[in-house]
Amino acid sequence: MAVSVLARDELRWQAAQERVTIDRSCRGPVLAFCATALFWLLVGSFLALVASTKLHSPYFLTGSPTWTFGRVRMAHLQAVALGWSSLAAMAACLWLMCRLARVELVYPRMLYLACTLWNLATALAVIGILLGDGTSVEWLDAPTYSHPFFVAGVGLVTAWVVATFRRRREQHVYVTQWYILAAVFWFPWLYTVATLMIFWTPATGVIQPIVNWWFNHNFLGLWLTPIGVGIAYYIIPKILGRPIHSYYLSITGFWTLALFYSWAGMHHLIGGPIPAWLATASTVGSMMMFIPVIAVAINHHMTMIGHFHRLKYSPALRFTVFGAIAYTAVSFQGSIESLKDFSEVAHFTHYTVGHAHLGVYGFLAMILFGLYYYMIPRLTGREWYSSKLIRLHFWCSAIGITLYFTALSIGGWWQGRMLNNPNVPFANIVMYVQPYLALRTVAGILMTIGHIAFATLFVINIAGWGRHRSSGPTLFSQPPLPLSSPWPGATNIIGTPSTHL
């Protein structure tokens, strides 16, 4: 009995040591991506508040072209989509690839260079737009001189992911790895083709908006969505200590997403001057997306079932499950929105803005927050400083995005109904939506408060002001060295000499 317990402890120690070594190797590069992502989240939140306030208080910050709505809104999009979301998504790729491949992080300098290039590109994009260099092509608003830096940055990350994958010690490719590999393969292709066909060798006529919306929709669907879903497929089972309900379904979900998502972008041009078959094919692709979405929804729900009480105890699970539920909701909504009858009302209204935020914030950002709460303590070896701040962050974000989505969905829907009625004067519609836009600003303030709490926790943790955890629940475990340790002089995971219990 004693021998088997010793052997078990030894196995646990080896496994913990391997995981800790991997996490420690990731620390520098992953934290660089995480910290800069968080910086852009704060910048994006500020720009969002300015843009939102201007919609119901048009005399706010007038007198300077820099702060006009058109520029601020574009700069906000670049800061949050390419700054926050993409950098945090890349941090997720790095850490998860190392953990799942069971290898230490290689080529850290290459990743520091990638991080620098991407941040430089984002800074050029945000500042360039505010100074008037924006391109006015939605989602590709960044000035053309920032494009090479974006391509080089993500190109390096892709090369690194491939290099890590080739070094893997775990031969099984977990579903999260499929999603990550696909995302880092798809995104450089999307970005290069879209910028090539719109800016560098511009296509003529309606091909430009077609390429534009193919990029916009797939930026979410083939870049951010796979990484978000991939994170959830790792975090939820790992926190619960429970394998996902159906691994078969998860693989089916991945391959059907790969097959159908890239068709879907053209539904944003329904009613526009594009070939009717193109919009129809896109609608079909959007409806087919029910397959991967239902697969993911069933899997996440069935994995959680019987364990929902754990949301009370785990900060990372709380954010991740919120994000997973939002993913199901926003995907169902997106498929319905692609129908032509529905588009007749919802198209070109605030309804679409609410939908986009449910996806990028309710789904992706919440899952990224969950990842931070799980990953950062394991990288730094320090506990989060305050549960109260974590709870403040969660509730501000959750209530904020719910209020945002509800206000814009209701206001946007009636805005669309009135726009379709020629008897309603346009000025009446503008006045009607004003209270909903004010609610949007309130929601934005709530979310920003959450982000400030989050940033405070992050800075405290990185600065080393948080306490080390030496016992208790495993935010990370601190195994004792087995008595018969084959590694003399080894230290425990936080770098201090290990003690036997």
Partner: protein, 80 residues
């Protein structure tokens, strides 16, 4: 055809061949490599001896108790 049209055509056709081909190759590799042979093993691949199935791994910093279903967080103890 103008040069821009040719560029568009090359981009679209090239993308279809490269990325469609890559997806087919990836799927073929996964089948040959046995990635789809044992789904149960795949689902368990994220767990190890230190963070095994049945042990939750994340709690609020101030958590000190037991969850209602009596699941214990992971503690390191040695039986001798």
């Amino acid at each position: 055809m103008e040069s821009a049209d040719i560029a568009v055509l090359l981009t679209v056709v090239g993308s279809i061949i490269c990325f469609g081909g890559a997806a087919v190759l990836a799927l073929g590799w996964a089948f040959r490599n046995g990635q789809f042979d044992n789904f149960q093993r795949g689902a368990l691949s994220i767990f190890d001896a230190d963070e095994p199935v049945g042990e939750p791994t994340d709690f609020f910093p101030d958590y000190r108790g037991r969850t209602p279903d009596q699941d214990q967080p992971h503690h390191w103890t040695r039986e001798t």
